[in-house]
């Protein structure tokens, strides 16, 4: 159907070798024949067949974006989408094709990481959404195809990652709470299978310690990043520590749930209790009160991930890219009422 390199060769009266040379800009070809071939290719509307090329070159100029647990969580919408956009934009800039793939822990056992890569002959992959106990994690580190992880702080020879400085982000958040006069501060964390949860917990602890406030494990509730666990979290926290005047949530979604529950309990936000989120999703700028939170540049995560991957593809060693957090202070936090 399509016009091939052979057709051009025939029409130009040369061999396929010469056509290939002309098309790929090699030097050992007479300029006139090169131009003639190029003109003919143009006329015949020739388009190279990437599949055939991949087969012989053993690389596909394709990167895989593998997302674990995509549809499961409602929390990740805005977040995931922006990363996808960043990856896509940067990948097409660099002339890489992008194949989208999703898994979950059970599928990860069924189909191993390397099979996924080999099947499509992926040059590299960007992996997000994996949990600490996911099978892919070990596979990735000892695999032969380069990989960059998002929000998983691991590096290997052929493995980089990009993530926020989560400890610092969390620390800034509760530092702000403390600066506003709060001392009875609870935390609603994500599940323990997420790396970021542990780091954010550390940030919370460190901020308290700096301020000379005692850390009490009972003050942190482990949810699952979803709205309902935010509600559950405040019920749990407030019943045990009614004197709480501020709560730090490890996701905006949970913060929204927390606010909803606080309102249902007759508390005012932020007058009675301040709540701080994490992520700065789009919703944070639309709910009432507007959510104070720590901003994560998700789109940039996507572009950076591609950059890291391209460096890996060039043979450079794996590296870490941790981006600076900054606060977005809005309406859901306020000075503690005396």
């Amino acid at each position: 159907m399509g016009v091939t390199i052979k057709d051009i060769a025939k029409r130009a009266g040369v061999s396929v070798t010469t056509v290939s040379r002309a098309l790929n800009g090699y030097k050992d070809i007479r300029p006139e024949t090169r131009d003639r071939i190029l003109r003919i290719a143009e006329e015949m509307n020739y388009r190279p067949n990437a599949v055939a090329r991949s087969l012989v070159m053993k690389q596909s100029r394709t990167i895989g974006l593998i997302i674990s647990g995509l549809t499961r969580s409602r929390a990740g919408h805005d977040l995931t989408f922006n990363i996808i956009c960043g990856v896509n934009d940067r990948a097409t800039e660099a002339e890489y094709d992008l194949v989208l793939s999703t898994t979950d822990p059970s599928r990860q056992e069924q189909v191993p990481y390397m099979e996924l890569c080999r099947r499509r002959q992926l040059d590299g992959v960007i992996l997000m959404g994996v949990r600490t106990d996911d099978p892919y994690l070990k596979e990735v580190l000892e695999a032969s195809v380069p990989c960059v992880l998002i929000d998983v702080p691991l590096v290997g020879e052929k493995c980089s990652h990009v993530t926020l400085d989560n400890e610092r982000g969390a620390r800034l958040a509760v530092q702000h709470l403390i600066a506003e006069g709060h001392r009875q501060i609870g935390m609603i964390n994500g599940h323990a299978q997420a790396f970021v949860s542990l780091e954010r917990l550390n940030g919370y602890r460190n901020a308290l310690k700096e301020a000379g406030i005692e850390y009490r494990p009972e003050r942190v509730f482990f949810g699952d990043f979803e709205e309902s666990s935010g509600q559950e979290g405040v019920r749990h926290l407030l019943s045990r520590f009614p004197e709480t005047t501020a709560v730090f949530c490890a996701s905006d979604t949970m913060a929204i749930g927390a606010i909803r529950e606080l309102k249902a309990m007759g508390k005012r936000v932020p007058e009675d209790v301040s709540v701080m989120g994490f992520d700065d999703i789009e919703l944070a700028s639309f709910v009432t009160p507007l959510l104070s939170t720590v901003h994560q540049p998700f789109y940039e995560f996507g572009t950076r991930a591609v950059d890291l991957l391209i460096r890996l593809l060039k043979g450079e060693l794996g590296t870490a890219d941790v981006v600076e957090p900054h606060l977005a202070i809005r309406e859901s936090t306020a000075p503690r009422c005396p």
Copy 2:
């Protein structure tokens, strides 16, 4: 690097033909040799090379998801993401790989539709975000690779589409407004380059006509689906028709902008003016007041698009899949105050 069919053949002492036969479950092979080969393949951890297979079979078991104007619009986030999820889920179910690709009108001129398909040897594509004046639209209809359009009501021999019954959705929306007692109803439409805009306008007109209300073209403002054009829309509409008590917006995002502007003008929503949206994006359930709107099942659009494409791939003729709208009445609409 990877183990190939040839390695298996050597180890099993048969030809590659026989191995291929065993692997693909053909019948002209002795059951014992088939089982033996299968066992060996298993042992050697063989994975077929999809690239080589694509080359010879001239089909890739890959579908392209081409999105025009992805990052440009903030309006489309939730919408686009859900469609992507639907497409992805259904595609992996059907064992198709998904390559993500984005364009915009200018890129569409540079790289023709068919080139995109041929390069990756796509079996078919799902196309969304195209406008009435986009180059791809003509190309798609006369192209040789099957295509399903989202929200573009065109069918061809190898071209299906899935869309909401937009006329009906809009009609239901303003019928509801009319039923609430409103008669001074403005409309904030999308841009004229979107098919849905025209259909929604028809719905608006038809609902008015049914109710015996005069249709006045000056009462409809053409925006661009974005929040700011919603604000602009109410300024325009309210300055010309201060007696307006309800406005129907062709997107939730514009509705949110409209509400914001109305509040800024000192009007209460819905007491002074009702506003109705379109799309039912996630945000609609979080803003205050909660947005009344017409629901679109975006995720389902994605899955249905894949189903349509698969039927096209089987050789069936192009067809239309128009899904029934239904209203989600919440807080932003209310009976007209007497």
